[in-house]
């Protein structure tokens, strides 16, 4: 048992309160926060190398054996998720520092580290009640970040976000109680063992518990019809925060992958294909609503929000069949859509801070119009899934993996038609903001051009998309191993419950 695997958790948990001591000292806070996040990228990358061997590391909190104590588990999926989080967080943080977003309210940097603490914890824990606790940690940090900078509409959107998630958390506790009542345990590996030996008369309770957990994760993942919190939240959140929130919806997707392959897996006779059947139609509708929203958004921020919903729909389409092949496609699309949504929100912020609004109405041309337009063009290509960026590769993967699915016609139809719809939506938005603007008289007020630091942050996220397009081969090899590990849960169960000292 190595202590190294919990270092990302400990670093963020220590740095978050430590940064509070330096309030008022902006340079110190920025330096510490950036250094910490760089260190997190290095740590998570090392952990990913460690996990890529196929070893499943287990860390017992306080050395209490599972299932009595809480365990942190690092397998390929967890390592992938924390590395993804750290990479996105670094790019977004650099952007926030470069644009001065972090100075527009109090405590941006401590909250940011708390947010990362909650995300890492949720992605590594092996105990479902602990997952709830880490959800609350990441949520309470996100409440603070969401209203960072204040403002009338942002506060109101913040209240909606808080209330919606409180209701979701309450439902989570209801489902946890049901799970404990049926399984008699909350350790996910132990639940998997118990699930196999449950009598058939418990089927109704097991199904209810599973469906309730699925609903909770669907709220996080913005799956229709539980997506209503997302558009207002992402539209009104500060841009760097909205970009970081790109990973928040993926936490829902991660939790579904984890729980519904390990505990309520496809081989569990009591539930059968129930969850797959529930997820697929919801995912199809989510994709449609998201992409239609792109067409009808009315402002760039809202378009980006609906694009995020649409990409979650496509992601859930790939998750829904719960087979190894489709999960590889889902994981690739998960990584891609995180970076794509991140970069899109940052570009929208560049437009908004120059025009004063991101509403689709005619305004004077913006400063650095050519640069911002090209960035928007790249982000739109990535989001809609046009070649040459990874969105195209990702969608191709999804379509190919679902070719033999009974719903293949629907999946292909929905994904292809909605892609076209979103291309039209983005093209229309881009032409109003960047091209038709030249017919307007120039704006008298001069706006400073983007700083190199801000562009570097944006470049990091965009660069990640380019890299994952170029390195699609090696990445897919890792993801194939990840999916294989997910659908052979015995190794996970053995690592957690085995008597390894």
């Amino acid at each position: 048992m190595t202590h190294f695997m919990v270092l990302p958790l400990i670093t963020t948990a220590v740095m978050a309160p430590a940064l509070l001591f330096f309030r008022g000292h902006l340079t110190v806070q920025r330096t510490l926060s950036l250094v910490t996040t760089v260190a997190l990228v290095v740590m998570t990358a090392l952990l990913m190398v460690e996990a890529s061997s196929g070893a499943i590391s287990v860390y017992k909190m306080g050395n209490w054996d599972a299932p009595f104590g809480i365990v942190m588990v690092l397998d390929r999926l967890s390592a992938l998720m924390i590395t993804l989080t750290a990479l996105l967080a670094l790019g977004v943080l650099v952007y926030a520092v470069g644009t001065g977003w972090d100075t527009r309210g109090a405590h941006f940097h401590p909250l940011y580290q708390f947010q990362l603490f909650g995300l890492f914890g949720a992605m590594m824990t092996g105990d479902i009640f602990n997952l709830f606790v880490f959800f609350e940690v990441l949520l309470i940090a996100s409440y603070g970040l969401m209203v960072h900078g204040g403002g009338r509409l942002r506060m109101r959107a913040g209240v909606q976000y808080v209330i919606y998630n409180l209701a979701g958390s309450t439902l989570f506790v209801f489902s946890l109680a049901t799970i404990y009542g049926v399984f008699g345990t909350l350790n996910m590996a132990d639940m998997a063992v118990q699930a196999a030996s449950l009598p058939p008369e418990d089927a109704a309770l097991v199904r209810t518990a599973g469906a309730m957990v699925l609903l909770v994760f669907a709220v996080k993942g913005a799956l229709l019809p539980l997506h209503f919190w997302l558009p207002n939240t992402y539209t009104h959140a500060p841009a760097p925060v909205a970009a970081l929130f790109a990973i928040m919806t993926k936490v829902g997707a991660y939790a579904i992958l984890r729980v519904f392959t390990l505990v309520f897996g496809p081989s569990l006779a009591l539930t059968g294909t129930l969850f797959s059947d529930l997820l697929m139609p919801a995912a199809l509708f989510t994709t449609v609503i998201g992409m239609v929203g792109v067409l009808a958004g009315g402002s760039l921020a809202r378009i980006a929000s609906f694009a995020a919903i649409g990409s979650m729909g496509t992601l859930f389409i790939a998750i829904a069949p719960f087979t190894e092949e489709t999960t590889v496609a889902a994981l690739y699309y998960l990584v891609h859509s995180t970076f794509a949504a991140g970069v899109l929100f940052l570009v929208v912020d560049m437009v908004q801070s120059r025009r004063g609004t991101c509403a689709l109405e005619l305004r004077a041309p913006i400063v650095q119009s050519g640069l911002v337009a090209s960035l928007f063009f790249a982000a739109a290509i990535a989001t809609t899934g046009l070649p040459p960026l990874s969105g195209f590769v990702g969608k191709l993967f999804v379509l190919d993996a679902l070719r033999d699915h009974p719903w293949a016609v629907w999946v292909w139809g929905v994904v292809l038609v909605t892609s076209l719809v979103s291309v039209v939506g983005f093209a229309q938005a881009g032409s109003v903001v960047f091209w038709k603007a030249h017919s307007q008289p120039a704006d008298e007020t001069t706006q400073p051009p983007a700083t190199g630091v801000a562009l570097a942050g944006l470049g990091m996220v965009l660069g990640s998309i380019v890299i994952m397009t170029l390195a699609a081969g090696p990445l897919t090899a890792y993801l194939t191993d990840t999916a294989a590990q997910l659908y052979a849960p015995d190794a996970y169960i053995g690592a957690v419950l085995g008597g390894e000292e």
Binding site: T99, M155, R156, A167, T170, R302, T357
Partner: protein
């Protein structure tokens, strides 16, 4: 006793849900608190209902399960903290806007002049 506990949990949940649908911050927060009570009872009952039994495992005598009690304690603390956050944010939104409605207009974000100047 099971029936009594079930009725309590059911009515708290029903009232809480109804209040949450009122779409104004005060009833919604009260509704959330009631839901939190309901869920705490439910969590408590998930370890089976026992009267006058010690919270010990591995005894032959009747015993009660101590774990749901610990979980309930955690849930209470979290619900308390979250309700406090919700109250403060609702208050801030009300003072900013003069309205306590949860619904909001479909407007583009506002950018203040100092935000534009950077």
């Amino acid at each position: 006793m099971e029936i009594l506990v079930a009725i309590i949990i059911g009515s708290l949940t029903a009232v809480g849900t109804y209040l949450m649908l009122r779409m104004r911050t005060f009833p919604v927060i009260v509704g959330l608190s009631l839901l939190a009570y309901a869920v705490n009872f439910f969590l408590f009952a998930s370890g089976r209902l026992m009267l006058n039994a010690p919270p010990l495992l591995y005894t032959d005598a009747p015993h009660t399960d101590a774990l749901p009690q610990a979980l309930t304690l955690t849930a209470i603390v979290i619900a308390f903290g979250m309700t406090a956050v919700a109250v403060i944010m609702a208050l801030a939104a009300y003072l900013n806007d003069g309205s306590d409605k949860l619904d909001m207009e479909n407007a583009a974000p506002e950018v203040t002049p100092e935000e534009r100047g950077q």
